[in-house]
């Protein structure tokens, strides 16, 4: 008897004294920590106006799920003398449908060219078709180009 009264008193007490913990999600976003790892994106070099990525394939090799495809090319800006990077990324695809967000690509990158997206945009990726989850170079760079991202974790 005392036990069931205790149960009832807990629920009554919670109803009267405590505030709901609900966050009204689509309008209100939970604050996410700076280290949050959503999905990998490429970082834009503002100074040189080109991606940091040289297409060295380090991340592609380290990826456990093989979700990345990297194609390298000669940097035209290097030929013009505007950049020190001899090689630069030509094509880059990441299949977010396969990516398991392990952060290993960031750890192995020697140029800090890839980072984990730590904004809400990195989480809200609902798509109608899986093929839309394969992001190409422009999409991967757009966040950084717009200056919206400040990767928290660098290895």
């Amino acid at each position: 008897m005392l036990g069931i009264l205790r149960s009832m008193s807990v629920t009554a007490k919670v109803m009267l004294t405590r505030k709901p913990v609900t966050i009204q999600y689509p309008e209100v976003h939970r604050e996410i920590p700076n280290r949050d790892r959503a999905f990998p994106i490429l970082i834009w070099d503002e100074e040189k106006d080109e991606p940091f990525c040289t297409g060295c394939h380090a991340c592609e090799r380290a990826c456990p799920v093989e979700c990345m495809t990297v194609v390298m090319k000669d940097n035209p800006k290097h030929a013009a003398g505007e950049s020190k990077r001899r090689k630069i990324i030509d094509e880059f695809w990441i299949d977010y449908g396969r990516c398991m967000r392990c952060n290993i690509c960031v750890e192995v990158c020697n140029f800090e060219a890839i980072g984990m997206n730590n904004t809400w945009a990195g989480h809200e990726l609902s798509r109608y078709d899986r093929s839309q989850l394969v992001f190409d170079l422009d999409q991967l760079l757009s966040q950084s180009k717009a200056g919206k991202v400040d990767p928290g974790l660098r290895a």
Binding site: G3, M8, T11, A12, V14, M15, P20
Partner: protein, 383 residues
């Protein structure tokens, strides 16, 4: 309501007025039930640190409407192997009795569809009929979970009807009437709960079981039989099941409000107009429903054998005890204080015994705690 409709100005035959009254009640209750779900969701949400419906309308007030529309347009499926007649008719076998109960419900002193001399018995008999529908649905769905649920429902409804009726017999003995109207009139000064607390507790418990709400929701328990009899129903049929289960809840809440809390009569309801009376009725009903919700949020579900032994080994003996006490009171013409005191004492006994019957066995030993002491020393605390 009949009295309103059959006033000389309208001049309508009694039967037609009753039918119209019933139709009106059905419409009002359909909306009322929809809002019972809103009430339930809001209250339980607050008990569970949540917000409940907030999206549709202010405070989610239009949520029930949205739910109804959604359920109406949902596809109504019937499994290929289901028995067509039993499956389709089961809904009505549950739906009709639950609404028929309102024939005898006096919302205020004047709002009554049909005055029946035995309305208390009528309410109990009608509300006990829904088991047929549960059995038909359970058997007709051709699903084992549904069959189990139907069996559980029937066994539970039949078993808990007995303590329910016995508790009501006690009331009938005290008030010397089986008419809800008369019983309400009896309580113009003191509500019956003061005289019959034991009967009240038995009624409360048995009514939760009769409307199959937690902790007695074993026929539909979603963690065991995954919805029980409703498992194969969808769309409009499912919502009719749900509707009638909520209507049953209203009926029992009203019954409890009338019989034990004095309905529209206590306090000072008789002479003040119908507005106040309706307010009294509705607020007492809301109190009952709140209790049902509170219980739902707080208790685990009972097991089927515990449920049965609770009815037969606890509630029925105590209901008989209440009848016995009332009999003594009537025969020896004892003062009311004696009746109230004895019933309160017995109610205390019921509360004490209630779970000792269900839970057998000697008191349990507490856990053994084996201490582990640090053998190595932390580098930091050593330095």
């Amino acid at each position: 309501m009949t009295m309103l409709l059959s006033a000389p100005a309208i001049d309508m035959p009694g039967a037609l007025a009753s039918v119209l009254g019933l139709v009106a009640i059905t419409l009002v209750m359909t909306v009322g039930v929809a809002y019972a779900t809103w009430y339930e969701r809001k209250i339980i949400a607050r008990m569970q640190l949540r917000l409940g419906p907030t999206r549709v309308g202010p405070f989610g007030l239009l949520q029930p409407i949205a739910d109804m529309l959604k359920l109406l347009v949902k596809e109504d499926l019937r499994p290929a192997t289901a028995d067509p007649i039993a499956f389709e008719l089961a809904v009505f076998a549950i739906f009709i009795p639950s609404f028929l109960a309102f024939v005898a419900v006096p919302f205020t002193a004047d709002w009554l569809i049909s005055p029946l001399p035995l309305s208390l018995l009528y309410l109990l008999a009608i509300s006990g009929l829904s088991f047929i529908g549960f059995l038909m649905a359970g058997w007709g769905s051709d699903n084992k979970y549904a069959l189990l649920g139907g069996m559980r429902a029937a066994a539970q409804l039949i078993s808990y009807e007995i303590p329910l009726i016995l508790a009501m017999v006690g009331v009938v003995m005290v008030t010397a009437s089986a008419d809800v109207y008369q019983i309400i009139l009896f309580q113009d000064r003191i509500p019956l709960i003061v005289w019959q607390p034991l009967g009240f507790i038995i009624f409360l418990t048995a009514s939760i079981a009769e409307v199959e709400r937690p902790p007695f929701d074993i026929p539909t328990g979603e963690s065991e039989v995954a919805g029980g009899v409703f498992i194969e129903y969808s769309g409009i049929r499912w919502s009719m099941f749900q509707l009638s289960s909520y209507v049953n809840m209203y009926v029992f809440a009203l019954l409890g409000a009338f019989v034990f809390l004095g309905g529209w009569e206590w306090p000072f309801g008789r002479d003040i107009g119908w507005g106040y009376q309706l307010l009294l009725t509705v607020s007492k009903m809301a109190l009952f429903i709140f209790f049902y919700l509170w219980i739902r949020a707080s208790f685990p579900r009972m097991r089927v054998d515990q449920l049965m032994s609770y009815a037969w080994k606890v509630l029925i003996p105590f209901a008989l005890l209440q009848i016995f006490l009332n009999g003594l009171f009537i025969v020896y013409d004892a003062p009311g204080v004696v009746l109230a005191a004895s019933s309160w004492a017995a109610a205390g006994g019921l509360m004490y015994l209630a779970f000792h019957v269900v839970r057998r066995g000697e008191p349990r030993k507490p856990l053994q705690m084996i201490s582990v002491r640090a053998t190595a020393v932390a580098a930091r605390s050593a330095s």
